[in-house]
C-alpha cells in the first residue's frame, strides 16, 4: 500500500483565516511586524552587534515593503519555514525560554488575505550566506532563486494589494495600523513617508511611566479623563499594565474592551477576559509575556496559568482601592458614587472589599436613600433614645418594598429595599460587620399582622365589612383583615408576595393550558407553592374606612370595598385584569350616580 499525502487547498485555508480565524483583515501588519521583530531577536541571540530597526516603505501601485535587519534566512530555512505551512522557526527555542512572539507558522499566510504574491528577499546572518529571493503565491506554488546583487543582512518582504484591499496600503492607514499593533515594541519601527521617515513607536507604554503621564495617556486614548490609573502587575505570567477607572457608570451587560499586548505587540483591543468579570468599571491596557496565545493570537488559552494571572491582576485593583480609601477619601467616594453597581458585585465576591465598601454603599430605605453607615448611625441613635434594638428588615423585591414603605415609615421601622440587583445579598451579610444589628427578611403577607388588633367591640362592628370583603375579593385571591395603624390617611394596605403573578399565570394555565399537563400545573401551584392570597388590610384609623364600616346599606358597603381594592391596585401599579377593571368602573359609576342623586335630592 502506498502512503499518500493529503492535498491542502491553500486558497481555502486563506479564506478560513480571513473569514474565521482573524477578526480583522489588517492582521497581516501584525504578522509582518512580528516576523521582523522575531528575526531581530534571533540575530541578537547569535551575538551580533547591530542597530536593530524595522522599516516600512510604501511604493507606487499599492505596494508595501517591510525591511528588517534581523537574522535573515538560508535556503533550507526558507524551504522549511516559509514553504511548509504550520512549521515555524521558533519552536525549539520556544521551549527554551521564549522571547518570540509568533509560534504557529501561519502568520505569513495572512498576507494572502490582502495580496496575490509575496516576494521575500533575504540574506542570512550566517557568514557568506547568499542573497535569496522567494516568491510565493496563494495557489501554493513558489520559486526560490539566488540573487547576484549583494544586500545587507536581513529580510525584506514586498506585497502588492489585491483588488478591494488597496486602502490598507495608503500612508495614513498604514501609519495607523503600525501604531496600533507596534506602538510599544522595543525595536524601532520607522515608516518612510512622503515627508521623510517617521518613528512610529517613540512613546513609552503606560505601565512604564508615572501616574500623571499614564493618566494623560489614558485621556488621549479614551477621549475621557479617567478617574484614576491603577498599576497592574502579576509576577505569574509576567503581566503588567494599567487599569483606568472609567469616569462614567457602565452597565453590567456591557462587553469589556481591554487592550492586550503580548510581548509588547498589540493582539486585541476588545479582550474581555484578562481581568476578572467584576472589574467592569475599568478599561485596562495590559502586556503579558508568559501566557500562551490561541491560534488567532487574539486571545489567550484559558488554562490554570491564565486564571492565576487574571486573579493577580484583580488583586492589584483591590489593593489599590483599599489603599485609596485611606490616601484619598474624596476620590474614593467619587469612585463609589459612579461605580456603585460594580462595587456591589465586587463586595459580594470578596469579604475584604465587603468590609471596606459596605459602610459607604447606599441603599433604599423607607426614609430615602442612605449610606449604610448613616443607616447604622440612625439605628444606634434610636437604640439610645428608646431602646428599640437595632432591628433591620429587608424585602426581597422592589414591589414588596413599595407595598410597605409608606406604612413602615410611619411605624419608624427600618426597612431596606433588597429588590435591586445584589442589594439583598449585601444586606443579608450585614451582621458580619455590625454584630449588634438584628436582621430579618420581611414577610409582607404577614406585615399587617404586626399592627394593633381592634378592641373586641370595634372588631364586632367591623365584622360585617370584613365578611363582605372576603366574599367580594375571593375571586381575586385576596383575603381581608382590619387593624389600627399609622398613617391615618392610608385607608388600606395591600400586600402580595412576589409569586402572585406566577400563581395567576398558573391559574390561567389551568384554564387554558394543555390538558396533559393539568396535574403537573396543579401539583406545582398547590403543592410546591403554598397559594398565598393577597391581603387587603383596612386601616381602622382612617375616617373613610370608619364610614364604610358604619354604612348600613350593603350595596354601598360593597361598592366601598370594590373601590378600596381597585384603588390599592392602581396605587401599587399592579396590572389589572379585565374583571378588576370592570369592578372599578362599576363602583365608580355607582358612586357618581349616588353623588348626583344626592345633588338632586338636595334640591339645588
Amino acid at each position: 500500500m502506498n502512503a499518500m499525502n493529503f492535498q491542502v487547498n491553500l486558497n481555502g485555508m486563506i479564506d478560513l483565516l480571513s473569514n474565521h480565524l482573524y477578526s480583522d483583515n489588517s492582521v497581516f501588519v501584525r504578522e509582518l511586524l512580528q516576523n521582523a521583530v522575531d528575526a531581530i531577536t534571533a540575530r541578537k541571540k547569535r551575538g551580533h552587534i547591530f542597530e536593530p530597526q524595522v522599516t516600512v516603505e510604501l511604493h507606487a501601485a499599492h505596494t508595501a515593503a517591510f525591511h528588517d535587519n534581523g537574522c535573515g534566512l538560508t535556503e533550507p530555512e526558507i524551504r522549511d519555514f516559509l514553504s511548509r505551512i504550520g512549521s515555524t522557526s521558533k519552536k525549539e527555542e520556544l521551549d527554551a525560554g521564549d522571547d518570540f512572539i509568533g509560534q504557529f507558522g501561519v502568520g505569513l499566510l495572512s498576507c494572502f488575505i490582502v495580496c496575490n504574491e509575496i516576494v521575500l528577499v533575504t540574506r542570512s546572518s550566517n557568514e557568506g550566506a547568499p542573497a535569496l529571493e522567494w516568491r510565493g503565491r496563494p495557489d501554493g506554488t513558489y520559486t526560490i532563486r539566488e540573487l547576484a546583487t549583494s544586500i545587507p543582512i536581513g529580510t525584506s518582504i514586498y506585497i502588492r494589494a489585491k483588488e478591494d484591499y488597496e486602502h490598507y496600503f495608503d500612508y495614513d492607514q498604514m501609519d495607523e495600523l503600525l501604531r496600533r499593533y507596534g506602538s510599544f515594541l522595543d525595536t524601532p519601527i520607522v515608516l518612510e513617508g512622503p515627508w521623510g521617515p517617521t518613528r512610529i513607536n517613540a512613546v513609552l507604554p503606560p505601565w512604564r511611566i508615572g501616574r500623571r503621564e499614564a493618566l494623560e495617556y489614558g485621556e488621549r486614548e479614551y477621549y475621557n479623563k479617567p478617574l484614576d490609573a491603577i498599576p497592574l502587575r502579576s509576577a505569574i505570567g509576567e503581566a503588567e499594565g494599567v487599569a483606568y477607572i472609567l469616569p462614567y457608570a457602565v452597565s453590567l451587560q456591557e462587553e469589556k474592551r481591554h487592550r492586550v499586548y503580548m510581548k509588547q505587540m498589540m493582539i486585541s483591543e476588545k479582550n474581555n477576559r484578562i481581568l476578572p468579570a467584576w472589574a467592569f468599571f475599568v478599561n485596562a491596557i495590559v502586556n503579558v509575556n508568559g501566557l500562551k496565545p490561541t491560534a488567532s493570537r487574539e486571545s489567550f488559552q484559558e488554562n490554570d496559568l491564565f486564571f492565576a494571572v487574571q486573579h493577580e491582576l484583580g488583586e492589584s485593583i483591590k489593593r489599590h482601592l483599599i489603599d485609596l480609601s485611606e490616601r484619598d477619601p474624596e476620590l474614593f467616594a467619587t469612585i463609589i458614587r459612579i461605580h456603585y453597581a460594580s462595587i456591589k458585585t465586587l463586595a459580594i465576591e470578596d469579604e475584604e472589599i465587603y468590609r471596606l465598601f459596605m459602610p459607604y454603599l447606599s441603599f433604599e430605605t423607607v426614609s430615602g436613600r442612605m449610606e449604610m453607615r448613616e443607616i447604622i448611625q440612625t439605628l444606634s441613635d434610636r437604640e439610645r433614645e428608646d431602646g428599640y434594638g437595632m432591628q433591620v428588615y429587608v424585602t426581597t423585591t422592589l414591589d414588596e418594598f413599595r407595598q410597605v414603605a409608606r406604612v413602615a415609615k410611619a411605624q419608624n421601622m427600618m426597612v431596606l429595599n433588597g429588590g435591586y440587583v445584589h442589594d439583598f445579598e449585601l444586606i443579608r451579610k450585614l451582621t458580619d460587620i455590625w454584630e449588634d444589628v438584628a436582621l430579618d427578611v420581611l414577610d409582607v403577607l404577614d406585615f399587617s399582622s404586626r399592627f394593633k388588633p381592634l378592641r373586641p367591640l370595634d372588631a364586632l362592628q367591623a365584622a360585617p365589612l370584613l365578611a363582605m370583603a372576603d366574599r367580594v375579593l375571593k375571586p381575586f385571591q385576596c383575603e381581608s383583615s382590619i387593624r389600627w395603624f399609622q398613617p391615618a390617611e392610608v385607608p388600606v394596605l395591600y400586600n402580595t408576595n412576589d409569586e402572585i403573578n406566577f400563581l395567576k399565570m398558573a391559574e390561567k394555565t389551568k384554564r387554558e393550558g394543555n390538558e396533559l399537563f393539568a396535574d403537573v400545573v396543579q401539583a406545582i401551584s398547590e403543592e410546591l407553592y403554598d397559594v398565598p392570597y393577597a391581603r387587603l388590610c383596612f386601616n381602622y384609623n382612617n375616617p373613610l374606612v370608619q364610614k364604610a364600616i358604619e354604612a348600613e346599606d350593603p350595596e354601598l358597603r360593597r361598592t366601598c370595598i370594590e373601590l378600596f381594592y381597585t384603588q390599592a391596585l392602581l396605587m401599587g401599579n399592579y396590572p389589572m385584569s379585565q374583571e378588576e377593571l370592570r369592578l372599578m368602573n362599576d363602583s365608580l359609576l355607582v358612586f357618581m350616580e349616588r353623588g348626583l342623586d344626592g345633588v338632586d335630592g338636595g334640591g339645588i
Binding site: 403573578n501 398558573a506 410546591l528
Partner: protein, 354 residues
Amino acid sequence: MRSRFNGLRSQVWELPNGKQKMSVMEEAIRVADEHLTPSDAYEARMSYSNMAVDSGYPERLLVSFSWCLAEFDRSPGEHSAHMIMWHYKWVLGKVWQLSQIGTGEIERIFADFKERCLKLGYSLRPYYQQLVNYNLAKGELVEAQRCYKEWKTAKRDHFSDCSACEQNLYGRYYFDLNQNKRGMRLLKPILEGKIRCRSVPQTTYVSMIEPLLKMGQFEQAKETAKKAIRSLEGAAYLTEFGLMLEYYALADMPKAVKLIERTLPFGLECRMPWTRLQYFVSVRLFLQQWHSLGRRRKLAIPAHVTSEWVEQEIARLAEAFDRRNGNSYCRTLAASKERQMIKLKAAYAAWNKR
C-alpha cells in the same frame, strides 16, 4: 399597555438571572395576558421558559410551557414548531422530577411528545435520550440500556441535541452505570477540545469528578474540580454544586464550607423535588464529614438546617419518589452514597499521605 410591556421586557435584559428577573417577566406576561395579543403572551412565555431554566426555576417552565403548547395547537401555523418542540425536550427532562406526577401521566406526556415528533417528521433520537435519563433516575437500568441503544441508532437531525451535548451525555450514562473507564473514553473528544458548545465542557468537568475519584485518579480529580467550579454560577447549577460539595468535603474542607454557605440559600429556595433531593443528599454527606472533624466554628447557615432536618427532608422526598416509581431506589440513594464516601475517604487519605 404596550409601552409598559416593552418597558418591562427591556428591564429584564438588564437583570442577571434570578428571582427578580423572573418576577419582572411574570409581570410582563400578566400585562400581555390581560391587555395584549395571544401572540405577545406566547412570545413572552417562550422567553420566560428560557429564563426559568437558566435561573433555576424549572417548575415554572412547566407552567409556561403548558400554556404555550395549548396556544401552539390553538393557532396552527402561527408559531415555530421547532421552538416549542425544543422546549418540550426540556420539559421531558423535568416532568418526572416532580414526585407528585404519576408514572401513567409521565408516560402519556412522553407518548404525546413521540407522536408529535412523528407527525413533524423529527427523529425520535431526543425521545429515547430523555427516556434514558428518566429510567436511570428510577434505577431501571435494563430499560435505560434498551433506550440507550435506541437513542444511539436513531438518526440525527436538526432536532437532536448538538454533538457535544450528546457526547457529554454518553459519558454520563456510563458513569451512572458505574462503567467509569468507558465513560471517560467517551468524554475524550470533549476534553481534547474537539467538540464544544455553550454548556459543554463546563458541565462535563463536574460529572467527571466522582468517577475519577472512584478510579483513584485523585490528581486529575483535583485539576478537574478546579475547572469545574469556575464554570458554575447561579441556582440553575444546584445539583452540580452538590457534587462539588461532596468533593470538597473529601478534599478541601474550607472550600466546602464556603460552598455550602454560598449555595444553601439556593437549595432552600429550590422547589423541584428531584433537584432538592440530589442537593440535600450531598449536603448530608458534607455535614457528616464536617461533624466527624469536630470543628468548633459554627457554619453560617440557617439554624433550622440541622443534620436531623436534612435526614427528614431526604426521607420525605425519597419516599415520595419511590411511592411513585413503585420501588425503593431513592430511599437507598443516600445510604449508598454514604458507603461510597467512606470508601473514597480512606483511599483519598492514603493518597494524600504519600
